[in-house]
Symmetry: C2
Subunit: 274 residues, 2 copies
């Protein structure tokens, strides 16, 4: 879902149309907050309730006071009409506070909704081409899984390539375990088993990943959270990426390795959309 060049997003801050936030906001000063990126399809944010649940979970991990769903529902209503197709970003920060790392006693959370109209061209419809990033993710169980505002690892990893033929970069951890894509989660189909990297140490546990795991289990197909290295990935019968914008896409190429045909991908994509 690429933003259309030259088209400015509409922004709502704490329920009001605005374009700027306080320079004293802890989201800016310390990355003290969390966010979600949603696809807008048919004028509605896809998987809205899943995203609100994940937002609450991430806030809880950081000791952030997550606004009630009714507050975020009302913010969303104020953004309407949404474009038929686009991207919605929902950001929550610990708000303004005095200088210093110490969280304020009674912080007032800052809510930012940003809506970009878009045409869905960011990811190709068929068969993604990957590379392996040089940057290795550092382990930090206190932050693993959370989509927080501390995203410099992703920024540095994404800065590694300019080749438009590359759709996504694969991130390994310091031990060589495969963790995720720069903006996506990863699934392997290998020897009749569906696996996804464990995210206990690093990486973001996306809503699409959770939906796929939940719906696959309901269909009798267990997804194993496992540790595996790049050799195991290259040995897989099918490799797939998920995120909330593209849903599920199969991988067609990584270096010299190609996966010419879809196997289980279309069935799994069906679970996700159900």
């Amino acid at each position: 879902m690429a933003a259309q060049p030259g088209v400015l997003p509409r922004i709502l801050i704490n329920g009001l149309a605005a374009t700027r936030i306080a320079a004293l906001d802890r989201g800016l000063n310390y990355g003290d907050g969390v966010f979600r990126t949603l696809r807008i399809a048919d004028g509605r944010p896809r998987w809205w309730s899943d995203h609100l649940a994940k937002l609450a979970e991430d806030c809880n991990r950081l000791g952030l006071d997550c606004p009630d769903a009714t507050v975020l529902d009302r913010d969303l209503a104020r953004l309407e009409p949404l474009p038929a197709s686009g991207v919605l970003r929902l950001t929550l920060t610990r708000g303004e506070g005095p200088r210093g790392y110490r969280p304020p006693i009674s912080p007032r959370c800052t809510r930012i909704l940003t809506c970009w109209p878009g045409d869905g061209a960011e990811y190709p419809r068929e068969g993604l081409t990957l590379r392996v990033c040089q940057l290795r993710l550092g382990p930090q169980p206190a932050l693993a899984g959370i989509k927080h505002l501390n995203r410099l690892e992703n920024v540095l990893a994404r800065a590694e390539w300019n080749d438009p033929a590359i759709d996504e970069g694969i991130l390994l951890d310091h031990s060589g375990r495969v963790v995720c894509g720069v903006s996506s989660n990863l699934f392997l189909w290998r020897n009749g088993r569906l696996q996804t990297p464990s995210l206990e140490q690093c990486g973001v546990a996306g809503v699409a990943r959770a939906r796929l795991m939940r719906r696959a289990a309901a269909e009798g197909l267990t997804v194993e959270e496992a540790d595996f290295d790049l050799a195991a990935l290259l040995d897989a019968d099918e490799v797939m990426l998920t995120n909330s914008l593209m849903g599920l896409r199969r991988v067609a190429r990584l270096g010299d390795k190609t996966w010419p045909q879809p196997l289980v991908g279309p069935r799994l994509a069906g679970f996700l959309d159900a």
Copy 2:
């Protein structure tokens, strides 16, 4: 240097008085930027040129286009007159950009100077009391040493205590090595040798730390960058913390362990101020 309650800071954004920044700024959205915290004493920012040099170094590590010193000098001049005593924060972000981790091709850096008047009461003059934080820093050599805007580890660590008798928390890494304080660097005097933790894997390499190492060396006193654990810290003859606000302070207590008398601290503090 505590900000005086109720006293708002003065803020300059890209050279103009302002209080708000663009909600699309990458500093907010990804923590994509760096910062410095300086003490204002006698109406001047202390160690200004050291801070500018460190800012340029940190920008270089992140591929950020650091403004020339002349630009930052001019910003500083526009903030004058500075309070006799206070805190100055200098933040640089990768500016606004389209959605997504990928850095813009030609980003226009955002410069934020924030000046709080203050009375210097944040740290006690004599003998700090420490605790050991439960949060362990994660290793990430690509970011280690940089004072970037991804500071959630520090926020979570600082949120661990409310006891006003505790001045600072000590951070260990996942292997149990001592790294730094939540807002400070650490030095040990042990068996006639001065040591500070290596910051190759995590932690911020502060300007006060670098000044102390440089000036101590000029006086014939080598500071060893070393790996040591909490037992070694407790076994030290003297423990000291540094940062740009407090300079150098000796530690008086950590749990049951006390260090009743200063040994080399006053001499080292003299190096720093020289």
